[in-house]
């Protein structure tokens, strides 16, 4: 693991000046992750979404590495094709046998948990030497905050409204990291933009393994979370401290908690920082709040159990 000092000397591979919002977690995640890729050339792919539209407005590009955007649901399949080309062209002798290239695909939670899940599962199963990164902000933010299967229960979204008959999203969020870990790939981890060292270490491990690796990164969205742009990292940190977003890794099938949380904060601490949960703190929703707390507790215990703690 390089020191912070060493990291600061590495080139930023996502140039500033892109059009993402102030406080956007996605660009923080991408920059940290590309730092963790080391010094080998990297080829990046990205699903349709905020990150893609804001960084590649023709004729500009913020990507200082070769980059491809194809469509919404297939950044994993697309990068698997790029990686396959690398293998095929090496075999043909058109690329030097000792050339090293890293491959990474990015996607938001909509493009990963929902519409891109099949393609992601396929790419992981086929064993491509690639890293898939989901920047999870818990809704389809680019298109106007529609709910995804990553949206937490109770959160307001434009397709999970708050009214007399409904209090935000009815369903629990999907535990995608466990699903991908169940593919038996060499490395899968959950990280957060708030824990830069943990994130960069995980990125480094993900790029280092031979075969597929998966990172699910909590990446705040001030616009969709209805929070101040300068609170973005802080709120993600509370997400970790409440146990909403456990930081763990699964390395060759071995689960490990990478950031211990000694005294978990109540989920309310995470919820109260964001306008999308405001209704949950009303007295009439006390029961729902208790249920949400119970679900966070249960999931936390499940992850602890998997990590043998």
């Amino acid at each position: 693991m390089p020191t912070l000092r060493e990291l600061t000397h590495r080139e930023d591979r996502l140039e500033g000046g892109h059009r993402l919002c102030a406080g956007c977690g996605a660009s923080i995640a991408v920059r940290q992750i590309l730092l963790g890729a080391g010094t080998d050339p990297v080829i990046a792919g990205c699903a349709t979404g905020c990150l893609e539209v804001s960084t590649t407005i023709y004729p500009y590009s913020s990507w200082k590495v070769p980059f491809i955007h194809n469509a919404f649901e297939n950044s994993s399949a697309t990068i698997s094709g790029v990686e396959a080309a690398f293998k095929g062209l090496k075999r043909a002798g058109k690329i030097p046998a000792d050339k090293k290239v890293k491959f990474v695909a990015f996607g938001g939670d909509g493009g990963t948990y929902d519409i891109g899940l099949q393609a992601l599962s396929g790419a992981m199963e086929r064993g491509h030497d690639m890293v898939y990164v989901c920047y999870d902000n818990g809704a389809y933010m680019n298109t106007g905050i529609q709910r995804s299967s990553a949206t937490p229960r109770g959160a307001w979204a434009t397709t999970a409204e708050v009214g007399k008959a409904q209090q935000g999203k009815i369903e629990k969020r999907k535990d995608l990291t466990s699903i991908i870990a169940a593919h038996g790939i060499p490395y899968a981890a959950q990280a957060s933009i708030s824990h830069w060292k943990d994130l960069t270490t995980k990125s480094e491990k993900a790029f280092a393994v031979e075969g597929p690796a998966f990172l699910n990164v909590l990446a705040s969205c001030p616009r969709g979370w209805r929070c101040a742009y300068n609170k973005s990292v802080e709120i993600a940190k509370v997400g970790v401290q409440t146990g909403y977003w456990p930081l763990f890794e699964v390395e060759d099938g071995v689960w490990r908690m990478t950031v211990k949380v000694r005294e978990r904060k109540p989920i309310e601490e995470f919820l109260k920082s964001q306008g999308r949960f405001r209704h949950l703190l009303k007295p009439e929703n006390a029961e729902l709040l208790a249920e949400i707390q119970a679900e966070v507790d249960a999931h936390w215990e499940y992850i602890l159990g998997r990590c043998g703690e």
């Binding site: 050339p41 080829i43 792919g45 893609e52 539209v53 590649t56 407005i57 023709y58 004729p59 590009s61 990507w63 200082k64 590495v65 070769p66 980059f67 491809i68 955007h69 194809n70 469509a71 649901e73 297939n74 399949a77 697309t78 990068i79 698997s80 094709g81 790029v82 396959a84 080309a85 690398f86 293998k87 095929g88 062209l89 075999r91 043909a92 058109k94 690329i95 290239v101 099949q118 393609a119 599962s121 396929g122 790419a123 199963e125 086929r126």
Partner: protein, 395 residues
């Protein structure tokens, strides 16, 4: 001339063999919806170590085309195969492949679209993709399948073109029947298709480029589409040039359209694919009976060979267009609409009628083709009027 050997084989085997000879760097394919043996045959070739190809066995046709796009953007020569529902599932990606100007080669074994589920031959699948920006070639026989597949490579990869090419072969009729095919020697094919020199390859990591950028917000989307239109228009000349070179190499003629018995013909049938064989057979019978029957077979459907169609059909007293797909709600099938539109600017009107035939593998019997020629003769003689579109032989 290339050294050639004659073999008895199926259309599907011929595609796999042509793929092998063209040496793709990547084949990403899904075997089903419905199943095509092309990818199975190619899997054998991979397992035998006869190609350097990286073979990606994806989990759907959508991912097949997605991976092909990634691989082609990376700088690889890329091939795949599909059919029917599979092509339909790829639809989104077809437009992206052509919009990103990636010369992917795809064999499409023409089969019906659901519902109801069917799996047998018709052209509904490719006709749903006819405006997707792909060059589309059709084959009557397994020989033409072989020839089209090899020609597709230098056509698509031509720096003035850089477009994906779909080579169509009729499901079961051409894909699964044993046919007589002349295969060229490997060296001749290697020399003919040449080396692929990709532009702006992702794997050229010293010169990073971004592919698939956002061109909305008043961006140049409209202008990109215009250059795509110029490219497919320009591909016509390239297809003719490649076809001519291929004819010299193989001894087999190639044209955007093939005309048969058209020199003194008065009535003609326009057709795509394997049905041309039956039409030719019946046309000869009709000629023995005194009907001046002819045949126009379209080898290249996109770009549509307007000038060639006009020159072949402008003197006809009646033209019957056979469509193995309907364009529901339109005046007729896709080939009819294109053909009649091509003839519209002529000084004297050529009567054109349309027959939708053989949907879902429904038999294309000789007596049905004879009905068409008889209709055309009656129209030519003035004893029958234009009938627009008919379903040929539907109960």
């Amino acid at each position: 001339m290339a050294e050639q050997k004659t073999v008895a084989t199926t259309g599907n085997s011929v595609v796999a063999e042509a793929f092998r000879q063209c040496a793709p760097d990547v084949v990403a394919a899904y075997p089903i919806t419905p199943q095509t043996t092309i990818v199975e045959e190619f899997a054998k070739i991979v397992a035998q170590g006869r190609v350097h190809t990286e073979y990606v066995t994806v989990e759907s046709e959508h991912s097949a085309m997605s991976a092909c796009i990634g691989a082609a953007a990376a700088g690889a020569r890329v091939m795949t195969a599909t059919a029917s529902q599979g092509l339909a599932l790829m639809w989104e990606e077809l437009y992206i492949a052509s919009g990103m100007r990636l010369p992917i080669i795809m064999a499409n074994t023409n089969r019906a679209l659901s519902a109801p589920i069917n799996i047998h031959c018709d052209h509904s699948d490719v006709m749903g993709a006819r405006d997707s920006g792909w060059i589309i070639l059709f084959a009557e026989t397994a020989q033409e399948v072989y020839d089209n597949t090899i020609m597709a490579v230098p056509i698509g990869e031509d720096p003035e073109v850089l477009l994906p090419v779909m080579t169509c072969l009729d499901g079961f009729i051409t894909t699964h029947s044993i046919d007589r095919v002349q295969l060229m020697d490997d060296d001749s094919v290697t020399a003919f298709v040449g080396d692929y020199e990709p532009q702006n390859a992702l794997l050229d990591t010293d010169n990073p480029v971004s592919h698939g950028n956002f061109a909305g917000l008043g961006g140049p989307y409209f202008e990109f589409k215009k250059t795509q239109r110029l490219a497919i228009d320009c591909s016509k000349g390239v297809i003719e040039r490649v076809g001519e070179a291929f004819s010299k190499l193989s001894g087999r003629p190639f044209g955007l359209i093939e005309t048969d018995m058209m020199d003194d013909a008065e009535v003609a049938i326009v057709v795509l694919g394997s049905t041309a064989g039956n039409v030719r057979y019946v046309a000869k019978q009709m000629r023995a009976e005194g009907v001046k029957a002819g045949l126009v077979k379209i080898r290249c459907f996109r770009p549509f060979p307007v000038e060639e169609m006009v020159s072949a059909l402008s003197d006809m007293k009646a033209v019957g267009v056979l469509d193995r797909a309907d364009s529901f709600g339109a005046e007729g099938g896709p080939v009819f609409l294109e053909t009649r539109s091509a003839l519209y600017d002529l000084e004297s009107r050529v009567p054109v009628v349309n027959y939708i035939y053989g949907l879902g593998g429904s038999d294309v019997r000789l007596d049905l083709i004879r009905t068409v020629y008889t209709d055309l003769s009656d129209i030519a003689a003035g004893s029958a009027s234009l009938h627009g579109m008919q379903y040929l032989g539907a109960r």
